[in-house]
Structure formats: C-alpha cells, structure tokens
Symmetry: C2
Amino acid sequence: MSKYKEILDHVARYVELSDSEIAAFTSILKTTRVKKRQFIIQPGFVSEYRNYIVKGAVRVFYLDDAGKEHTVSIGIEDWFFTDFHSYLNRTPAEYYAEALEDSVIIQMKYDDVEELCGRIHALCQYFRLYIEKALSYSNQRVITNISKTSEERYWEYVTKYPQIANRVPQYVLASYLGISPESISRIRSRS
Amino acid sequence: MSKYKEILDHVARYVELSDSEIAAFTSILKTTRVKKRQFIIQPGFVSEYRNYIVKGAVRVFYLDDAGKEHTVSIGIEDWFFTDFHSYLNRTPAEYYAEALEDSVIIQMKYDDVEELCGRIHALCQYFRLYIEKALSYSNQRVITNISKTSEERYWEYVTKYPQIANRVPQYVLASYLGISPESISRIRSRS
DNA sequence: TTTACACCTTGATCTAAGTCAAGCGTTTTT
DNA sequence: AAAAACGCTTGACTTAGATCAAGGTGTAAA
C-alpha cells in the first residue's frame, strides 16, 4: 500500500496510469506535516509547490493594505491549493496559506510537474481535466459574488459545504464570502 | 495561408504542433459568423462548443430571477468563451453568450476536443496551460471583487483593459464589475 | 425627418451591510 | 489556576452603493 494512496485515488478518478507512470509521479511527491496556524505560503516567497491536502484543513488568504484578510480558498481533504499566480510565474506570492488544523499535505514542484506533464500524456490529461473543473467552479463563484446578497451567499455555502462550514471558524467563512464577521453573526441569528 | 491562422498562432504560443497534428486540429474547427446582438449560447441549450473569437466582441452573461444581467466574461479577438459548466457536463446552459459586434468565431465540439486531447499530447498540453492561466485570472477576479470598492474595481479594469473598456457599452462593464450602471456613471463624473 | 430605441446622466431617496465598541464564554498559554 | 488570547455576539451608528424616476443625446429605423 503506497503512502500516496489518497492522491493516486484522486488521479485515478480522471485517468489510468501504468505502474511506471505511477512510479514517476510518486517520485516527485513529498509529504509535509504542518501544525495548526503554520504558514505554507507567505507573501514575498515563491509558491513553488502544488499542494494536495491528505489530512487537515488549509486556507489561502490575501491581506490587504488595510490589514483585512480575504480568503481565496478553503480546502480540506482531497483538495489542491497554491498561490496559482506565483506558482505559474515563479514570482513572489501575494497570498498566505495557513493550516487551520494540524495537516498532512503532499507537495509537488512546478518544474517536476511540468517535466512530467511534458513526458507523460495521461498526467497532462489529469491536470487538464482537474483544472477545467476548478475553472468552472471559480467562474461560478464570481457570478455568485456579484449577483447574490450576503445572506444568500452564506446559506448557499452552508448548504453546499456543510462539512467545511462546520469545521472552520466563522470569520474565515466570512472573509471567503466577502462578508464581515458581524454580518455573518446577524444572518445566523435571524433564522 | 490557413484560414485558421489566428487560432494556430494562439496554440503556437504554448506548444509546437507537427503538420499532421495541425491537420487533425483544424479538421475539428468550424468558422461561424454572427451579427451584433445575436446569441451564440442560450439557457436551456447545451453549450456544445469551445468558441474562439477571431474578430469581434462577445459577452457571456447570466440573467437572474429579478431580470438583472450579470456579465461572466467579455471577450474580444484572441479569447475563448463558453458556458464552461454546460460545456463540460453536457447540461443545459445557464448563461447567454451575445455578440456585441458582428463577429467571427471558431468553434470546436466537446467530443472532438476530448478525442484529440486523448490522442495528441501537445494539444492536451496546450489546453492545460491555457486553462491554468485562465484559472489564475479567475481567482484574481474573485479576490478583487471581495476586497476592493466599486470605484477601485472600475479604475483597475479601465487601466488594465482600456481597449475593451472603450469598446463595450458601459452597462456591460457595470454588470461585469458588479456595479450598477448609475454608479459607474457617477464614478466617472467624479474624477 | 420624425419616431423610436439604446445608452448615459443626474437627482432624490433608501437600505444592506460595514464599522466601532463593548461584553462574554472557551480555549490556550504561562 | 490565573492570565491572555480567540472567536462570537449584540447594539448603536454610518455609509457606499442600489433603486426609482426623469430627462438628454445620438444613432438607427420607418
């Protein structure tokens, strides 16, 4: 039983890899353990890795000039995260990634991923298909943000992702939805 | 000179295709001409194609229950558009795509794209790399929407995409930025 | 050439949601 | 076990931006 079972299962949902391809893929993986409140990405440093969450919860957020946090993504088991812009362009990150719980993540370097995607067709397909889904989801979020009220966004999220909503602090959810923590509290109370 | 010069140039910015690969790719392409105000995608119908804009301008928008329009994307020459969710899942579209000018677009069917991506590694790479960029951009937009004021979003857009801002009606820009047309007008006047 | 529609502007008003501030349980830390 | 920090709530107040409504201008159509 590979120590990379979880991520290999994830890949298998999209494509089938041969044994040698699995070996090539796992050879670029690295497991990292992080403690609650530890940063995995920090502004100023290049986000070199694509990170897959095996266990735990991680949020990516942006700290604006006024010192306010805006959550880019909240991930739990079986999610990828990174500062995509930094990762793709090898420029300093603008976001933080912070462990919301003690977590186990699998990391893979940009260069290694690109090299493998150039060499292994199935792996390229895997990333393509996965990213296409992520894009469709991101587009959805944009529209929800500009077309729904705070209250609608809150209840939609809680309904769609109860397992995340119940697991992360409310102020994180608030900053993900673009609502103040006080407003979230009021929305909950008037129901 | 191929009649698909523009899109082949676009591909060439990411990967190199052999002559036979170019032939295979162009064989799945179809050129369509649309008049200003014509719909390319409509709710209820599956968005079967990935559409590349050769000439013209197209916007994708969502019409909410209250009858208000929310623009998902504004594209001009050299951009792709589709209702990604509908396209990927072959479910009825939720969005409209409307030509803002008389336009020429190149269309490719989902099944054809998937078949080619399964067969031609370089093409799979091309779509993967392009979509990764699009995702990074979409993430950016989410953060801008939740962290900046209407006024900041407006000026940022105008500065970043003057050629689009000057080409499309202001109410389209407004619905893209999540601002009312009246507010856009006021933002412009107080500068 | 006048009718009409599309798009933009300006003014008056309204309201959802943000801000500021205080208080209160619950975890952490020491 | 006390102190400190964290996360959530509630109240009073403020405000950015929406809504409603009317009028103006240019372009296209009849």
